[in-house]
């Protein structure tokens, strides 16, 4: 990928006018075709431009607030290889994201203020804003609380031991009680280790057929139920990340009905893909299955379909899509998890869990929109303003606001080409597939960070 297409923080503020573009701003429900102007990095009145700005034909394009990803893995600090902060940020910019939140399961983990500052320093000049989520426990070992207030002072926007739950209920309770005072949410990777141990895909007919050990729904549900009980007692904010089960969604729906401060996100792959992909299917969750076929050697047991939590059953994926539509699921977060090929080109049991997602998130969302199961306005909200609010950012396309936006063609098709991705990694089962949605322009904080 040509690096010249990427800008970075520190570039001069941009100015341009887009004529007749579909502007979507979920803040006030705007969905209208009109002109949109950016002057010196701020949204401006198109009637009051200087006349010297670049004019862009907005026909067929959508402008939306810049996307915010609550869950990415950037592999720095670490032994390197699969991704860097810089390459991950370029992938983000290309996907329309202006903020990404780096998870702390690096080597070493981000469990102290100096490491938070190190990442933020290293991310200066990257092609999007990089926020940091700190570890809840020292060394992500699940034994002792890390210095959460000090890390918050250093810039941590939330806390998580992502990659695992905090297995000890008492420690989780202590973390929530303390975080209420710190004013940051606990981001929970809900997985009961004793139920999930040894499992590599969702339990069910496909796992039984493939001879792969199945991860039961209860592995996620028991942790979510436990955490909701702890939130009810502590009053702290809980954010459940990469929700993957209908049962977990129901639990969160009930908690929110009680007024508890529980939010959640879902990944694009838990919405659009299903456990049948492990058996070689390449049909989206909303497409009717073709019926039982023998595993295709070209696609079955593909290590790129190994993710944690595992890909959902079709029924659960559709339930999650419903949850996204009705707003119980606040956000789409990618869980962008880069891995080198040698950790994926192995027997399925041995594959490292995770797939990349920054450059395909919008496309999978738009594929769902095309089925009529999701409104574009809601998709945009789940990619932009709702996740931004959860970490205390705001986004707006109102006149006078800093320009933080993405412009994309929702109908255009592109083919996912491993060699053309901005990410250093290419571990995605979507490689070779044609998807809707091409990002034309990303502007973060008034600067162009990606231009097609």
């Amino acid at each position: 990928m040509n690096p010249a297409r990427f800008g970075q923080a520190g570039d001069p503020p941009t100015s341009f006018v887009v004529r007749r573009v579909r502007v979507i701003d979920p803040n006030d429900g705007t969905d209208a075709v009109r002109d949109l102007a950016v002057l010196d990095g701020h949204i401006a009145d198109p009637a009051r431009t200087r006349g010297s700005e670049e004019e862009i034909d907005g026909d067929g394009l959508v402008v939306a607030p810049g996307f915010c990803d609550l869950h990415v893995h950037l592999r720095e600090p670490g032994d390197g290889g699969a991704e860097t902060i810089a390459s991950g940020a370029r992938a983000a910019a290309r996907g329309g994201f202006t903020t990404i939140c780096a998870m702390p399961n690096t080597t070493p983990p981000l469990d102290e203020p100096a490491r938070i500052r190190w990442v933020l320093e290293r991310a200066r000049g990257a092609s999007c804003r990089v926020r940091v989520i700190g570890s809840v426990t020292v060394g992500r070992a699940g034994e002792q609380l890390a210095e959460l207030a000090s890390m918050a002072d250093a810039g941590a926007v939330a806390f998580s031991d992502d990659g695992a739950s905090i297995p000890d209920a008492r420690l989780t309770r202590a973390a929530l009680a303390y975080l209420r005072g710190v004013g940051r949410p606990l981001v929970e990777h809900a997985e009961e280790p004793s139920l999930a141990a040894g499992s590599v895909m969702r339990a069910g007919p496909t796992a039984a057929r493939l001879g792969l050990r199945g991860w039961p729904v209860s592995a996620e549900l028991t942790v979510i139920e436990r955490d909701i009980a702890l939130v009810a007692e502590t009053g702290a904010a809980l954010h459940v990340t990469h929700l993957s089960t209908a049962a977990g969604l129901d639990a969160i729906r009930r908690a929110r009905a009680r007024g508890l401060p529980v939010t959640c996100d879902v990944t694009p792959h838990h919405l659009a893909l299903s456990d049948e992909w492990v058996g070689g299917s390449r049909r989206f969750s909303w497409e009717e299955p073709t019926g039982e076929a023998a595993p295709d050697p070209d696609t079955a047991y593909d290590g790129s379909c190994r993710v944690n939590p595992p890909l959902a059953s079709r029924a659960d994926a559709l339930a999650l899509l419903d949850g996204l539509r009705d707003g119980v699921i606040d956000a789409i977060a990618t869980d962008h998890a880069p891995h080198p090929p040698e950790r994926k080109l192995v027997p399925f049991d041995d594959a490292a869990p995770g797939m990349i997602g920054l450059e395909t998130a919008l496309s999978l969302g738009l594929a769902a929109v095309e089925t009529g199961r999701l409104e574009l306005l809601r998709l945009v909200a789940a990619l932009s303003i709702r996740p931004a609010e959860i970490i205390g950012e705001r986004r707006s396309l109102a006149i006078g606001e800093p320009a933080d936006l993405v412009m994309f063609d929702p109908a255009a098709r592109w083919t996912v080409d491993r060699d053309e991705l901005a990410s250093d990694a290419s571990n995605t089962p979507l490689a070779g597939m044609e998807l809707p949605g091409v990002v034309h322009l990303t502007v973060a904080d008034g600067r162009i960070t990606y231009r097609r």
Partner: protein, 312 residues
Amino acid sequence: MIADAPRQAPARRHLLDTEGLARAELERLLDLAVEMRAARDTRTHRSLLERETLGLAFYEASTRTRVSFELAGRALGATVVDLSVAGSSAGKGESLVDTLRTLERTGVSVLVLRHAGSGAAHLAARTTGMHVVNAGDGLHGHPTQALLDALTLREQLDGLEGRVIAIVGDVAHSRVARSNIHALLALGATVRLGGPRPWIAGFDGRTGIEIAGTIEDALDGVDAVMTLRVQLERSAGAGIPSLGEYTRSWRLDEERMRHAAPDAPVLHPGPTNEGIEITAELANGPRSLIGRQVENGVPVRMAVLAAVTGAA
């Protein structure tokens, strides 16, 4: 609407599992095995695979399967190389794919792979150009075992259409059972699964499969019984309280076999744990087809090797 004209099933480059094989393909492989059994005696096919090099890559211990593949390859004139895992680079941290690609470069044209990972044979087929024959992948499949079981049953029962075959034991963790289920269903049989509930979980609701909660129900009126080897080293973690309880509830013996059809035969993929999943009396008695299963191993594997290479 014009019905599809009957056509020859497409030749397959690999045998990864019995799943997806149509009845005609299965019958053809079994017919070919019968032909191979005769040819082995008359030595009429001993140059059929003389251009092929068979690589035996067994990442798990095996005696009968490995030896029968070796004999099958030699009976057809193939060069046979045995990658014994101890002492090879496979034991030195080299990845499976790297090892297999090296084998391919050294001239192996047909890979016979046994590996602890489900889907390992699919991975080999996807990443190399060799013909791949699955000799057992994790918990997933063991198609040549299923074929030799099907051949044994077809000959004993005079066909499988409409027959009811019980499979008793840890079906959920058995690659033999999984491949047998596909083959038996495709050949027109009904399959009845019996065992402690966690051992038969995940198969409910499939057409042609019945689930039995007791040994009596599992055996009631069946035409044949296949029992599986209890993985002694795994029983503690396999969801049952004890081996003794399994034996009391599920061991096959002459007494319990009275629930089955008269003279219903008994199969076992071997090696047996006599006294645990089957009594010595039954395993060595007149109902037992265990010896015939072993005898059918070489001709079935000859047929598979000839079929995947397009030699027959």
